[in-house]
């Protein structure tokens, strides 16, 4: 491909691509994000390719592997354009029928999504409740384009915002537009991006750097990964626009090496952008030079913190430093550096193209635009959802997420990763934005949203997050390093049924000190899950301490497995599966568990057939004595 040397040439190429493509041509798209890859989308792709070849339809029907569509629960997803027919949970053996159906314009009923409430089969992707209530803006193009094809991105008007910024706007005008849009950083704290850009621009010192943070470490969050995998050019375009506004000529992308597909697609996109003259010297003939380098992160949660990330990029152990001087003043190599996360950069081209007024028309007073959340845990429709700021938790969890599986009761939702808090049912109608979440003791974070039901123990969850931070703390400052260890010790104590009431005060006191005295945000916010659970679920702590009872029946030390002799069908399944031989009984003899041998692995509970559901978990009550040798009474059908 010859380098594009001017804005006119870019437009010409775009028109050429559009002219070459028939928008009404049938195209089978296949979601190929990591989650769908995990569900074997690779082999579905091969099967579809084979079938198109076999049925001689390679020319007539297109096949495109796209990025993540978001509805991971139902993956691998196939969407057929232009009709938008959506097939879920597609298997390689479905390929022949799909291709046949496309040829004959027939819909394959059994592969359609069926509404779990009404049972109705839904043909079109946009009519599925999961999608219907979303506002897919930044994440939207993921489902149309092949991330490995720059032409696909150009086809959907990619790099037009860059051309607009470079040809029609001065750097100051670009900056002004972002400031007016009130774009807040999507990576955690919600700091105004325009302000950060301006500080970097005005800071003394050259060169200046711009950096993409794709070190998405929050467990249970994968928005940035899916954007980087599915639409890397949008991030690159946003970064170039930012660099132009700030006056930077060198950018970095810090990406976790645990995201191999993101690294691969990003590197390919960078190479293409360079070839096309969208990166490098004299971009599109504008006279603006900019290049991007990729730095793979080697796996340290704290290295996603801005100061630590800058140090990691120098090839050192990424530990945070005091931040009385912002990165915008002294960041990478002590030079002014502007760091935003993937989603923030990817939002920039939209703002430049459509204007700040348009962006301000979406969202709430203090938080504009849309936000991508990873809706996971005990929720029916797991996946990535993009909604306007201000939507309530209830709308997200019930209208989009389809509620809690198996009719269980909602208990809480965790936002903000290990730095956030667990929000109880009473706040389900809170509109979600940066400020509202902070008000109720949690935070937006990067957008993880983990739903918990009555089978989740809140003390155990608090311990999980504290242990996570304990493991990930760099150990540089004492409040974080030692505070977390104290918290972990006490919480473990409580989970094991050894907790004392006065320890709850110790938890609160240590948490306060950590908040005030930690070096970076990891330590300062690490106690949030403890504080919010203590505030909203104190009764669970008390049950563990006073009654030696785990209400959710999770904490191993406080539960016992028990087989209800009235329900047991003596089917031998649990007896055969028990790894320690703790299940006693035999053929036609009611089974019972020898408690001394039981390691509480939970296998019997899982394998007991639903028609019996004889295995129970008991907590805070004595296990009834077994009656060895009792014969099972078979009910007549």
């Amino acid at each position: 491909m010859a380098r594009i040397n001017s804005f006119a040439e870019l437009e010409k190429l775009r028109q050429e691509i559009k002219g070459r493509r028939d928008p009404n041509k049938t195209c089978i798209t296949l979601c190929s994000g990591t989650a769908c890859y995990a569900s074997a989308s690779e082999s579905v792709n091969e099967a579809l390719e084979r079938e198109l070849d076999r049925q001689g339809l390679k020319e007539e029907i297109g096949l495109r592997r796209t990025g993540c569509h978001g509805f991971c629960e139902q993956g691998p997803l196939v969407v057929i354009y232009p009709e938008e027919t959506c097939y879920t949970k597609v298997k390689p053996e479905d390929a022949a029928e799909i291709v046949q159906g496309v040829k004959e314009k027939k819909v394959i009923e059994r592969l359609l999504y069926s509404d779990p409430v009404t049972g109705e089969k839904i043909v079109h992707e946009s009519e599925i409740p999961f999608y219907k209530n979303q506002h897919r803006l930044v994440f939207g193009p993921n489902r149309w384009i092949d991330p490995k094809s720059i032409e696909d991105y150009l086809y959907i008007d990619g790099y037009s915002a860059l051309a607009k910024a470079l040809s029609q706007m001065t750097p100051d005008q670009v900056l002004e537009e972002i400031k007016k849009a009130n774009l807040r950083g999507r990576g955690g704290g919600g700091f105004p991006a325009g302000k950060k850009w301006e500080e970097t621009k005005n800071a003394p010192g050259e060169p200046k750097y711009v950096v993409v943070n794709c070190d998405e470490g929050d467990p249970g969050a994968y928005m940035d990964r899916s954007l980087m995998e599915g639409n890397p050019h949008s991030v690159i375009e946003g970064l170039i626009i930012g660099a132009y506004a700030i006056g930077s000529h060198k950018g970095f992308v810090y990406v976790r090496q645990e995201y191999p597909l993101a690294v691969e697609n990003l590197n390919l996109a960078l190479k293409q952008a360079e070839e096309y003259g969208l990166l490098g010297g004299n971009i599109l003939g504008s006279g603006f030079d900019f290049s991007i380098k990729v730095h793979r992160g080697a796996g340290a949660f704290v290295s996603g913190e801005s100061s630590a990330l800058m140090i990691a990029m120098e090839g050192k152990a990424g530990e945070p430093r005091m931040k009385y001087i912002h990165m915008s003043q002294r960041g990478y190599k002590e030079k002014p550096s502007c760091l935003n996360n993937v989603e923030t950069w990817a939002t920039v081209p939209f703002i430049i193209n459509k204007g700040s007024d348009w962006f301000n028309s979406i969202g709430t007073e203090g938080s504009k635009g849309t936000k991508i959340f990873s809706l996971v845990g005990k929720v029916n429709n797991t996946g990535l959802v993009e909604v306007p700021m201000g939507m309530t938790l209830r709308q997200i969890i019930y209208d989009i997420g389809g509620g809690i599986p198996k009719g269980r009761k909602f208990k809480g939702v965790q936002t903000g990763g290990p730095s956030g808090g667990i929000i109880p049912e009473q706040y389900l109608d809170t509109p979600i934005d940066f400020d509202e979440l902070t008000k109720i003791g949690s935070m937006m974070g990067s957008g993880g949203m983990i739903v918990m039901d009555e089978d989740t123990c809140m003390v155990d969850m608090a311990r999980y997050f504290v242990d996570f931070c304990c493991e990930e703390s760099c150990g540089k400052c004492i409040p974080c390093r030692e505070g977390l260890r104290v918290l972990s010790g006490i919480l473990t104590h409580i989970c094991e049924g050894e907790g004392k009431e006065e320890e709850l005060q110790t938890l609160e006191r240590v948490a306060e000190v950590m908040k005030d005295a930690s070096l970076c945000a990891l330590g300062a916010t690490a106690a949030n899950p403890v504080l919010t659970t203590l505030k909203y679920f104190r009764d669970e702590y008390e049950a563990h301490i006073k009654d030696k009872r785990c209400p959710a029946k999770v904490c191993k030390n406080l539960i016992n497995y028990y087989i209800d002799p009235e329900k047991c069908g003596a089917c031998m399944i649990c007896l055969r599966n028990c790894p320690t031989g703790a299940v006693q009984g035999g053929k036609n003899l009611v089974h019972w568990i020898e408690q001394d041998k039981c390691i509480k692995c939970g296998i019997c509970y899982q394998v007991c057939p639903e028609r019996f559901s004889a295995v129970e978990k008991l907590s805070g009550e004595p296990v009834p004595a077994p009656v060895p040798g009792r014969e099972v009474v078979r009910k007549k059908e």
Partner: protein, 152 residues
């Protein structure tokens, strides 16, 4: 080990002997060899002009690096929040019981290495584990044995 110097030289050369690229160099070696032998770390330090203690500081700070050889199969258990609420601790305990090793260890016959990871990013499949490049999920405790047997 023969050829350490030239192997290291090749990778270091790819990054123009740039010290800032230490982590990238270690990542490349780790993915090639599966671990970071002492001799290699020494050689990297020598060629880059970085003190050995700093090479070790970096190699021990980040989770991606292993200073001991790994087994033939790498089992990774996702302990992300989504998997956690869906019961990953029970899965972890079961894997540990079956392999008889703790996370971070390798079985004496060098067949399996076990790791826990913060999030594999396929929360819809949780609880999930990976063995080498294959994903398994959603898993129940009773499924673990069958999965591991495939590699036994």
């Amino acid at each position: 080990m023969v050829g350490i110097s030239s192997t290291v030289n090749k990778i270091v050369g790819k990054y123009q002997d740039d010290r800032d690229m230490l982590i990238q160099i270690l990542l490349d070696i780790q993915s090639g060899l599966g671990w970071l032998p002492k001799e290699v770390l020494t050689e990297i330090g020598k060629q880059l002009g970085v003190p050995l203690n700093r090479v070790y500081q970096v190699a021990t700070y980040y989770k991606a690096f292993s200073l001991a050889p790994r087994g033939r199969h790498l089992v990774r258990i996702c302990m992300g929040t989504a998997c956690q609420v869906r019961g990953s601790p029970l899965i972890r305990d079961r894997v540990q019981q079956l392999l008889d090793i703790e996370p971070g260890e390798t079985s004496p016959d060098m067949k399996f290495s076990l790791e826990t990871v913060n999030c594999l990013g396929c929360c819809a499949k949780g609880p999930v584990i990976t063995v080498d490049d294959a994903y398994y999920g959603p898993l129940g405790v009773s499924d673990v044995e069958n999965v591991l047997e495939k590699y036994g």
